[in-house]
Amino acid sequence: MAEIRVENLHKSFGDFTAVKGESFTIADGSFFCLLGPSGCGKTTTLRMIAGLELPTSGRILLGGEDVAFKRASERDIAFVFQLFALYPHMNVRRNIGFPLVCQSVPAREIKARVEETARLLRIDHLLDKPVSGLAGGDRQRVALGRAIVRRPLAFLMDEPLGTLDTEFRDLMCAELRHLHERIKATTVYVTHDQLEAMSMADRIAIMNNGRVEQLGSPQEIYDRPATLFVADFVGSPAMNLIPLTGRLGKGAARLEVAGSGIAIPEMREDAPGEELVLGARPEHIRFDDASDYRGEVFGTEYLGTMQIVTVKVAQGRVKVKVPASLRVESGEQVGLAFLSDRLSLFDKSSGRALRSALHDGAAHG
């Protein structure tokens, strides 16, 4: 197993720049997620680590060795594809054993290692079946088996659960995490599904437009989004982003939105401009008739134990997550109160989060 270091990685396809100088380090044995919308460069990054694309410039260190311009076959890594890429003309046993055949491992050892891997993944009863008849989850396990069997320096996975149905996906998420805990392999996992990333990763890199917007633990990213993009992308429903205008200096702990005062975490820096955005997660807002920040209930989405209430306010719409037991009628006038110590503030022009008491004690990602 090994640490992966990416330094100043660039990749252009003609005029289009897919990856614009990213740097990050993936600790040995950790589960690292690259999360972002389609076309953000996450898959390109992964493919460069794998050696399926060559970077335009930059360095990729795998266990200390620069492999950026080496062939895929010369890097000791395993790759799990979204479509699994199981060879249809081979059965399960030959599929799992294929990487070892490529490396000219003796047949007896291949047999032993394939069977050991199959037991680990609980697919030993499928070994002599053709891959074409397998169910989605079993195909996924075979693909994982083909990766595990070589005992590589790192696992790279490109949306491996993307084609599974929801039920299987939850199951495989848990299994993948469990597997990771047992074999402790450095894993780089690409996904556009924040739930997958949040539930599995030790650390997440949120990518957008070829850049890493934020790097941190799932909780850090959720609680302290570093940019407007991250705030909007992570969380379902997304963070409420309320535009406002005003001067905010270091030490300020209140701001005004449409004439109502709202307490915020104490500012640790001066806001560079007057155009600001207040970020509040739906679960950090509650109904409070005493509040003078008011709006009209527009609609509700019932989620079982909770419900999402959309409230029309002067600045647009705000989503509020409240217990389903609360009775709310459309058209009703309500007051909104914010959980002050959980609010984020962003500079609108740069999209950057402003430092405040919210960030106290947190390592800056």
Partner: protein
């Protein structure tokens, strides 16, 4: 669900009646198109007088005279000479003597047939090999001017090949390729390779790149991955392409007439000449044509599973 909304049949599947009508049309068409083939087959087993009888004979006494004439050359002899020869050795001896002739030696049919086999299968092999390699390159790599190159390759098929017959004839004479198997293989390969590239590119495009990428990550070079992973996946496309190339090369007549006359002559230009050797020898022509159909039939039957999949390949997303 209310009663009015339930339907007894699917709205997308064809009804049994329309299936039956379509089936009847297909069968009728097949029968009509098989009449010439049946006529050739029958002619092969007729006697020469039966073969030119008017009105044509549908029912006749079968004879092997056509096949005997196909494989032999014969000379006319006097009755006395034939009687001095002793009893006939083979059924062909017997048939031939009834026409006051004796077998002088083997005909050129077998060597011409052999030429056809060598040239058609040889050119198919080269066309498909070159085709699959360049199709792979067009499918997987960023090639400068790829679209123009592909169009250029296709454009070689836009004119009737015979339009370049004279230049090719002159060129071949200068190069010493006239009437050689190599020349014919080169020519048919050149004609077929554009078809092969285009057909195979379609098939290779359908093979997910992930297969090769997985193999390359697992330790294979690209070439290795191509042979071990891509080729087995493309088997269907290769089989379908090979059949199309073979059909062209096997049946090609115009260039064969022009460029081969002796050593390298293929069966298509040879078969019509059989008529001249023994008068109006239609049974021998029928026999020669029947046998000529066999290799193509065998090849197609062997690959038919692939061919059927090949024709519908890509029509439905898997």
């Amino acid at each position: 669900m209310s009663q009015a909304l339930t339907t007894a049949h699917s709205v997308v599947a064809p009804s049994p009646l329309s299936k039956r009508i379509a089936g009847a049309i297909v069968i009728l068409y097949a029968l009509v198109s098989m009449i010439p083939l049946a006529w050739i087959l029958m002619t092969g087993f007729k006697t020469p007088p039966d073969s030119i009888a008017y009105p044509p004979k549908i029912v006749f006494a079968p004879s092997l005279e056509g096949y005997c004439n196909l494989f032999t050359t014969r000379t006319r002899q006097t009755q006395e000479y034939i009687q001095s020869l002793g009893p006939p050795q083979t059924i062909c001896d017997e048939i031939t003597r009834k026409r006051d002739m004796v077998i002088a030696g083997p005909s050129n049919y077998v060597p011409r047939f052999w030429n056809s086999l060598v040239i058609a299968f040889g050119s198919t092999f080269f066309a498909v090999s070159l085709g699959v390699l360049s199709a792979y390159a067009f499918s997987r790599f960023r090639i400068p001017l790829a679209d123009d190159l592909l169009f250029f390759i296709l454009s070689t098929r836009m004119m009737p090949p015979i339009a370049v017959a004279i230049p090719i004839y002159l060129m071949y004479r200068k190069l010493g390729l006239s009437d050689t198997a190599l020349g014919m293989i080169l020519l048919y390969t050149a004609v077929n390779v554009s078809l092969a590239v285009w057909l195979l590119k379609g098939f290779i495009d359908e093979i997910p790149r992930e297969y090769e990428e997985a193999a390359m990550i697992d330790g294979y070079t690209r070439l290795h991955a191509f042979f071990k992973v891509v080729l087995p996946q493309a088997a269907t496309g290769i089989a379908a392409t090979a059949i199309f190339c073979l059909i062209f090369a096997w049946n090609e007549y115009a260039f064969a007439v022009l460029l081969t006359s002796g050593e390298a002559q293929t069966a298509p230009p040879f078969i019509p000449t059989i008529i001249g050797e023994g008068g109006m020898d239609w049974p021998a022509v029928g026999a020669g044509t029947t046998l000529f159909l066999v290799p193509l039939l065998v090849f197609t039957v062997l690959l038919r599973k692939h061919l059927l999949r090949g024709i519908t390949f890509g029509a439905v997303r898997k």
